[in-house]
Structure formats: structure tokens, C-alpha cells
């Protein structure tokens, strides 16, 4: 982890009519950090992620992602981030290779570079047998790993993972986190939302949103200390009860 801020959010407000989805959010995420973005359903996580990914405009406040402004430089933000949704969104009727080639292609990577990185990836994940299989024939765990590999294939500065482990068994989840750590080591910053509180412990720092506001922020140890809880689950429940 370094001191360089890769995401800076100051007083972010997002309103839909009278409803305030994001109420004055402020936080920073440092380079090569794993930042856990927690909150119950409807707390405003998705709205905030959409703004950080350049999909929608903030109502007010400053938002910088990878050094670019969320109002004026959305296209530059998009080029420098990766995104993985909870559905592990790949094309079922394309092979693993075709999926990767397609997604890499829309990020403007050259054919040569795609080929080179694809061969690296095949070696790293050990998917010689899988690479020409249709995604629909893959087990969920592999879909998840490949979706993540696709999200970081263009070497983004930040990758946003929206509940990347939902519906996956604990062992596969653990393996998946190994991939995340590996990505972090290569210099990628990880911004992750999750429902699994055991996973929250894997993050360097966490923020917990309740009703559109960030109620708590800090390392897992700090939060457990502060809320006198033995695990993150208790912290979360204590905070959520306040809502």
C-alpha cells in the first residue's frame, strides 16, 4: 500500500428527486488497497459505485477516480477501471477465449497484446483444457475466476467488484480471494462490496453505509475495537440496528 490516493470522494451527494441515495459521502482509497464497501441492500452502495464507474453523475461533491474527474472525465475513468458484477457477466455462448478477446478488444488492446496476456493467463490459471469451452459449460467457480480475470485484463488502476462471491461455496471464495491478493500485488487497487462478513475481514479498510451515509470506516481491527465486537458480523449488526 502506498500513500497515493486512487479514489478521492469529498461530500458526495446523489439525489433522485426528494430521495437522497448518497448523503455527503467522503472517503479515500489508496493505491493497492483492498477497500471494502459494505452496507445493507438499499443503503446506497450501488448508487455510489455507479458514480465511481462513470455511469451516472453526482448531484454535488467532488469525485476523483484514478486521477480523473467524475463530472468531466468519465471516459478517462472508464479506460482506467475494471468492473465485475455479481452475475459474473460473461457470454454463455462464447468460449472462454472468445469472451476474453471480446472484452479486451473493447478496451482497445492490440491483438498481439491480447494474445500474449491470454497465454500468460492460461498458464497462470491452468485452463488449457477450458479455454476453448463455452462459458455455459463451466462450473460457477471458474466463471467467477474468469470474470475477474476479464475485469483486470486491461490492467486497470482500480477494479470494482460488486458482490463478486455471491452464490459461491466457501472454498471457491477463499481461492477467489487469492486472485484478488495477486491483483493487488501487481499494483491494482480493489474496491469491493460484499454480503459476507468473513470476507470483510480480508479487506485492508472498510466503510459501512447505513441509509445513504457512511456510519463507520477503518481497518477491520479498528472497527471491532470501536464497536466492542468479536467479529465483523457483530459490528455490522450493531450498526445496521441503528438504522
Amino acid at each position: 500500500m502506498s500513500d497515493e490516493n486512487i479514489i478521492v470522494v469529498e461530500n458526495l451527494v446523489k439525489k433522485f428527486g426528494n430521495f437522497t441515495a448518497n448523503d455527503n459521502l467522503s472517503f479515500e482509497v489508496k493505491k493497492s488497497e483492498i477497500f471494502g464497501f459494505l452496507g445493507a441492500n438499499g443503503a446506497g452502495k450501488t448508487t455510489a459505485i455507479k458514480i465511481l464507474c462513470g455511469l451516472s453523475f453526482p448531484t454535488s461533491g467532488n469525485v476523483m477516480v484514478a486521477g480523473f474527474d467524475a463530472y468531466k472525465q468519465r471516459n478517462l475513468i472508464k479506460k482506467n477501471i475494471g468492473y465485475m458484477s455479481q452475475g459474473f457477466s460473461l457470454y454463455d455462448d462464447l468460449t472462454v477465449k472468445e469472451n476474453i478477446e471480446f472484452y479486451a478488444g473493447i478496451y482497445g488492446l492490440s491483438r498481439k497484446l491480447i494474445k500474449q496476456r491470454f497465454n500468460e493467463l492460461v498458464g497462470k490459471l491452468g485452463i488449457h483444457d477450458l479455454k476453448n469451452k463455452f462459458v455455459k459449460d463451466l462450473p460457477l467457480g471458474w466463471k467467477q475466476k474468469i470474470a475477474f480475470s476479464v475485469a483486470i485484463f486491461h490492467r486497470p488502476r482500480v477494479v470494482f467488484l460488486d458482490e463478486p462471491t455471491s452464490g459461491v461455496d466457501p472454498i471457491t471464495r477463499r481461492q477467489f480471494w487469492d486472485l484478488i491478493y495477486e491483483a493487488v500485488e501487481s499494483g491494482i487497487t480493489v474496491f469491493v462490496t460484499t454480503h459476507y462478513m468473513d470476507e470483510a475481514e480480508y479487506c485492508n479498510r472498510l466503510s459501512i453505509m447505513v441509509d445513504g451515509k457512511i456510519e463507520a470506516m477503518g481497518t477491520p481491527a479498528e472497527l471491532k475495537d470501536k464497536y466492542k465486537a468479536s467479529n465483523m458480523d457483530d459490528v455490522f449488526v450493531k450498526l445496521a440496528r441503528k438504522a
Binding site: 451516472s56 460473461l90 454463455d92 455462448d93 478488444g105
Partner: protein, 367 residues
């Protein structure tokens, strides 16, 4: 540009790998055109007709005997007055009435000219057309056999289409099928393919990527535009080769008009995709809101002039109606833009309108 080509490549992979999509794209059009074609070409079997013989002389008796002897026509009734025709048609007992004028044989010898009128129940335009040509052929035969023409004598035919005076051409099925097939394939398939991306969540990934929304939509539509154009061309070709339906006007205009219609269907597809949340809804909307009016209210199968006034008004918002007018003018009448520029303008207006609404809906969703 490379990104765009990659996108289209992927889109073609989706299309070529889905058996259902391939069938809808390539088998249905061929089947549909062949079925429609043969239905229209279908022979008339035992068509029941009536005779209104106001003359009752030797010549008329002989002609009536010939009509009755014809294989596919059956004379079932003799009427006594012209006003009986309407009732007979409405009772649906007969399909045509052959009327001989008063003093037929006399006129034929004296004036060298006598009139036969064929009155047809044109509520079924195709049947009426076929029956008309049958009957005239028999009368023509009589003319020839008796050398009536050679001696300067002539039976003059007059055809009256009951219920549908300006009967539309039997060739209607080629333009009509084109309107229908292009609408179904283009709007249905493009809307489904866009909605599918929403459903599986891949649309989200595309939107987060540096691709602009406009590039995403164009990338999704381009393959369908191309395949629809190929389809349009095949339909015209099959119509021409198998059924002898002509292209009397300019091919350039035909291509231009078809392309405009394809654009309109694509923009409708995009509009449907902004409304529909899943593929079933997209299919439902395309089938009932787009396909049925195209089939029933465009003038393809049922003449618009014969519809109840309310339906006539509704037909004004059916895009296929304008396409049909334009394309009939080009293919069958061989006319140029001066005859259908209004229809082309309406189609252009529809493209602009549908895209405008889609963009607006899309923006609201992103906001």
C-alpha cells in the same frame, strides 16, 4: 474502429450459434414467402356462381352451358334481377354472378357487340381475382371458337368487384411478406438481443467499458441490418423467380426504401428494448404490438379501405402501411419518388421519433 469490428464479430457469433435465431432469420422468411405465394396462387375448386340471364336466348344458354361444364366452376343458381346479387353475396352462397344483358344474341348480331358483366364478391380479393380470370378465359374461348372476333363481333366483358372496387394486385404478397418479415426479424431480433444483454448483466459491463452507448447500440444493430437486407433481397428474388412478381421500377429506389424500412424497424427494436425488462416481454411486444398490425392493418392482407373507420385511423400509425404503398409503387407500378415521397417522409419521421424516445428513456435510466 477495431473495437467496433470486434463487437460486430461477437454479435455474429451469437447469431450463428443460436439455432432458433438462425431459423427465424433464414428459414421462416423462405417458408413464409413460399406459403403466401402458393396460397395466392392456389387454384379455385368448385367455385359456386350464379347466372343473371336477362336475355335467355340461344347464345346465352350456350355460354352458360360452357361455364357450367368448366371444371372448377359450378353454376348453382339462376337469378332474376340485379338486386338479388347483394343478398346472395351476403348470404355467402355464391362467389360470382355472370350477367348477360337484355337482348344479348340480338345485339351480338345487330350491333356486333354484346355485354357480359362479371360481378364478384371481392371480400376475398384473391379468390375474386382468380375467379374473374377463369370466367373471362371461358368467355374468351367462346369468342375464339365461334370466331366472333374475326367477324368483327365481340362480347364485351365488364368486371365489377363487389365490396372492394379497387381490388389490389394478387402480387401483394411479396411486398406484404417483405414488410412482415423485415419487421419481425429486425425489430424482434434486435430488441431481444439488446434485452438479453441487460438480462444477463453483460450490458452493465459494456456500459462501464470505454465504449459509448451509441457504439454499443450500433454494434448490436449492424448485424441485423445486414441480415435483414439480405433477407429483403432474397424475398424479392424468390418472388421474381418462383412467382414471377416483377420489379418494374428502379432497383436503387427499392433498395433505398427497404433500407429505410429496416432502419425504422431497428429503431423500433431499440425502443422495445428500452421498455422491455426481459426477453419474453420483448418478444411479446414485438409479436403483438408490431407483428399483428403489420399483418392485419397495413393493407397487406385486408384492404384498408374496407376496414371500419376506427381501424383505418389506427392503420395510419402502422409503419408497414407506408412501406407497402411505396414498395407497391416501385415494384408493381414502376413509379418514382414523386408518387410516394410522402410515405418515405413518414418513415423517416418515425425513425427520428423512435430513436428520440429511446435516447430519452436511455438517459433517464442512466441518470
Amino acid at each position: 474502429m477495431n473495437r467496433f469490428i470486434g463487437f460486430i464479430h461477437k454479435e455474429f457469433l451469437h447469431i450463428f450459434r443460436d439455432v432458433r435465431t438462425m431459423m427465424i432469420l433464414f428459414l421462416i422468411p423462405v417458408f413464409q414467402i413460399l406459403i403466401f405465394g402458393y396460397v395466392v396462387k392456389n387454384e379455385v375448386k368448385d367455385a359456386k356462381i350464379a347466372i343473371l340471364d336477362l336475355s335467355k336466348d340461344d347464345v346465352t344458354t350456350e355460354i352458360i352451358a360452357k361455364l357450367d361444364a368448366a371444371e372448377d366452376i359450378e353454376v348453382v343458381k339462376y337469378l332474376n334481377a340485379y338486386d338479388e346479387i347483394d343478398g346472395e353475396f351476403r348470404a355467402n352462397k355464391i362467389k360470382a354472378v355472370v350477367v348477360f344483358e337484355n337482348g344479348f344474341a340480338n345485339k351480338l348480331t345487330k350491333d356486333k357487340n354484346a355485354n357480359v358483366q362479371i360481378v364478384l364478391d371481392a371480400s376475398d380479393p384473391n379468390l375474386a381475382n382468380i375467379l374473374n380470370s377463369y370466367t373471362t378465359a371461358i368467355l374468351n374461348n367462346y369468342n375464339k371458337e365461334n370466331n366472333i372476333n374475326a367477324s368483327g363481333v365481340n362480347i364485351v366483358f365488364d368486371t365489377k368487384m363487389w365490396f372492394n372496387e379497387n381490388i389490389s394486385s394478387a402480387y401483394m404478397f411479396v411486398p406484404g411478406s417483405m414488410a412482415l418479415i423485415l419487421m419481425v426479424i429486425t425489430a424482434l431480433m434486435s430488441s431481444i438481443s439488446i434485452v438479453k444483454e441487460k438480462e444477463t448483466g453483460t450490458m452493465e459491463i459494456l456500459l462501464v467499458s470505454p465504449l459509448k452507448p451509441v457504439q454499443i447500440i450500433l454494434g448490436k444493430l449492424a448485424p441485423y441490418a445486414l441480415l435483414s437486407a439480405i433477407n429483403a433481397f432474397s424475398i424479392v428474388l424468390i418472388g421474381n423467380i418462383v412467382f414471377g412478381v416483377p420489379v418494374n421500377g428502379s432497383w436503387g429506389l427499392l433498395i433505398l426504401t427497404s433500407f429505410l424500412y429496416i432502419m425504422m424497424a431497428l429503431s423500433l427494436g431499440v425502443l422495445v428494448s428500452t421498455i422491455a425488462k426481459n426477453q419474453q416481454t420483448a418478444m411479446f411486444i414485438s409479436m403483438f404490438v408490431l407483428m399483428l398490425p403489420t399483418m392485419l392493418l397495413s393493407g397487406f392482407i385486408f384492404p384498408i379501405e374496407n376496414m371500419p373507420v376506427v381501424l383505418q385511423y389506427i392503420s395510419k400509425i402502422v409503419p408497414a402501411k407506408y412501406f407497402l404503398i411505396a414498395i407497391k409503387n416501385i415494384m408493381l407500378k414502376g413509379q418514382g419518388i414523386p408518387y410516394f415521397w410522402k410515405e418515405l417522409l413518414v418513415l423517416i419521421g418515425m425513425v427520428v421519433l423512435f430513436i428520440g424516445i429511446s435516447v430519452k428513456k436511455f438517459k433517464i435510466r442512466l441518470d
